[in-house]
Amino acid sequence: MSVDEKPIKIKVEKVSKIFGKQTKKAVQMLANGKTKKEILKATGSTVGVNQADFEVYDGEIFVIMGLSGSGKSTLVRMLNRLIEPTAGNIYIDGDMITNMSKDQLREVRRKKISMVFQKFALFPHRTILENTEYGLELQGVDKQERQQKALESLKLVGLEGFEHQYPDQLSGGMQQRVGLARALTNDPDILLMDEAFSALDPLIRKDMQDELLDLHDNVGKTIIFITHDLDEALRIGDRIVLMKDGNIVQIGTPEEILMNPSNEYVEKFVEDVDLSKVLTAGHIMKRAETVRIDKGPRVALTLMKNLGISSIYAVDKQKKLLGVIYASDAKKAAESDLSLQDILNTEFTTVPENTYLTEIFDVVSDANIPIAVVDEKQRMKGIVVRGALIGALAGNNEYINAEGTNEQTQDPSAQEVK
């Protein structure tokens, strides 16, 4: 469907929000291009949103993305005037809401726009059903009809049978489904979702995203989704708006955003790894599980079994690296009562902590066991696993330890003990 066929649901024209006094003067300065700092100095007020201009098409999932403090939640709250815009106009289905009276605005909030909140904002003293029917209750719809409608939305989000429970009895994911059902019961045209899934744990968040997409296919509402998570934006957004410090930096489909990032900022934003920092073995090494040489083969076997690994490094009392114990040898040693010393395998490769990743790439790829990272006194510091190496190179900072050594950084390291 090419762009111009779809009717425009929401039109936002030069909308700005200034927090503080002298907002009039600040708007003036904004108009003739003064920077946020100048405005702050001159009027002491901060610019929350700076002349936002965009259109949202009917039935679209329109994602507004930005880090915290980028003005995204202020912008979305201006759409239903929870926050009064300082300047500019907002049209919904062509009617200008920015100069609507209190009562007209209340009608729009009751009929046209519903909202889903990050921390669910469910009423603790009301059951799930009473929460879901709240919107219609305000409009004076009689009890029988509104409860019937509320049950329908609860069914839609898969919460049938939970209507008489209280919010604090449900998990995070289920509470947010109630938030969704409550918003849908008013049968609004537009759904504002303010970081609706950020408070959920990562696994549930992906499920809720899939569900929202299914829901959108069925009920076809226009959804304005606020998030700070790039993956979430890419997965559910038809179009994405990127915001930084109150300014709209770029608008486009996920592909367009990735294809030609409109300026250096966007590039860095999607790049999300600062390649300038060159990584060393210390950055990606994991805690080394070791067995002391004076232990028996069965202890080594049990440790390996518990960690799901098939080989383990043997160290002496000073944690000096002696060699590798393989599970198969340990099994034989246990049967014929040999000690770990007898089955110690001394062929193994070690790397010092500050070797660059690029140098150890080939060593790691052809070794069949994790590479040992040792300090000058041959003492075990950690091990490098192939997965971590690839992940780090691919820029996934999950695999990169903060200050280049593994986790015990904040405690004074063990070496200090005499």
Partner: protein, 282 residues
């Protein structure tokens, strides 16, 4: 300090009080009669029911509202009061306290709501409440006597001034403690101020407001003896006369009766089972 011309603060206050008594005389008399009728209505009403029956009713009420333990305490306590012969004075004290508390609620809660909605109102009301609670209760007797002369009415008026602050304070606190994101939710779904207040703010604030009312009851009870100084009948005046006539025995007996009423009312209001959280089926 004596060099400075002393502003005759005392005289100013006296003249101000006289002026009020003049201008609002009629108005105060109206209130006085209404109040007196209300209190005596309670006393005579309760008076009709024989003490044993009334004791059982009180105990049943205590059981229904709160717990079995308290119901038992109420039963034994009131039987003891009756046995010691302080039944009628107890009824008068009960009427005095209940009236003062009812007025505190009827006047206090709306002020509390008003203060919770308007910041400026809250900023004016809070220091006044502090002053009202630290000022010795005796001082309230003076205006009470001037406007309502002697009898149960000035007792009630003084008790109300002394007992109302906690109800107001806790109403404001209860409403203020409702989380901001819930208020935002009510806005987003288009609630009017009234709908927000009655559907969300007040229900969530009930527990705190009840705590305030409990405190008001205790303060009213602590006023009964002082109220006796302006002619308010009941257990208070039993204690007061015992003190003035140095009859320790009677003083302690009447004191115990007050203690029983105080503990019963305190435990009942503290354990009011708030209906809100009845667990729905799964």
């Amino acid at each position: 300090m004596d060099r400075l011309p002393r502003i005759p603060l005392a005289d100013i206050i006296d003249r101000f009080v006289d002026w009020i008594t003049m201008t609002f005389g009629g108005f105060f008399d109206g209130i006085a009669n209404g109040l007196a009728a209300f209190v005596n209505g309670i006393v005579t009403g309760l008076g009709f029911i024989p003490s044993i029956l009334l004791t059982i009713i009180f105990a049943a009420l205590a059981w229904w509202i709160s717990t079995r333990g308290i119901a038992l305490f109420t039963l034994i306590g009131f039987l003891l009061i009756d046995y010691l012969g302080y039944w009628d004075p107890m009824l008068q004290t009960l009427a005095l306290v209940l009236t003062s508390v009812i007025i505190s609620i009827v006047v206090g809660v709306p002020i509390g709501i008003w203060a919770s909605q308007k910041e400026t109102v809250r900023r004016i009301v809070t220091p006044i409440l502090d002053l009202m609670q630290t000022m010795p209760a005796f001082v309230y007797l003076l205006p009470a006597i001037f406007f309502f002369n002697i009898g149960v009415v000035p007792g009630v008026v003084a008790s109300v001034i002394f007992a109302m602050p906690p109800t107001i304070r806790m109403t404001v606190l209860g409403i203020k403690q409702v989380p901001a994101d819930l208020i935002e939710a009510t806005e987003a779904f288009g609630s009017t101020t009234a709908q927000r207040l009655f559907k969300v703010q007040l229900p969530l604030a009930t527990k705190t407001i009840l705590a305030g009312i409990n405190q008001s009851i205790m303060l009213a009870l602590s006023m009964v003896v002082i109220a006796a100084m302006v002619g308010a009948p009941g257990l208070g005046s039993e204690v007061y006369s015992a003190v003035t006539q140095l009859k320790t025995g009677v003083g302690v007996e009447a004191g115990i009766a007050i203690v029983i009423v105080a503990i019963t009312l305190d435990r009942i209001t503290q354990n009011i089972k708030v209906k809100k959280k009845s667990r729905g089926n799964a």
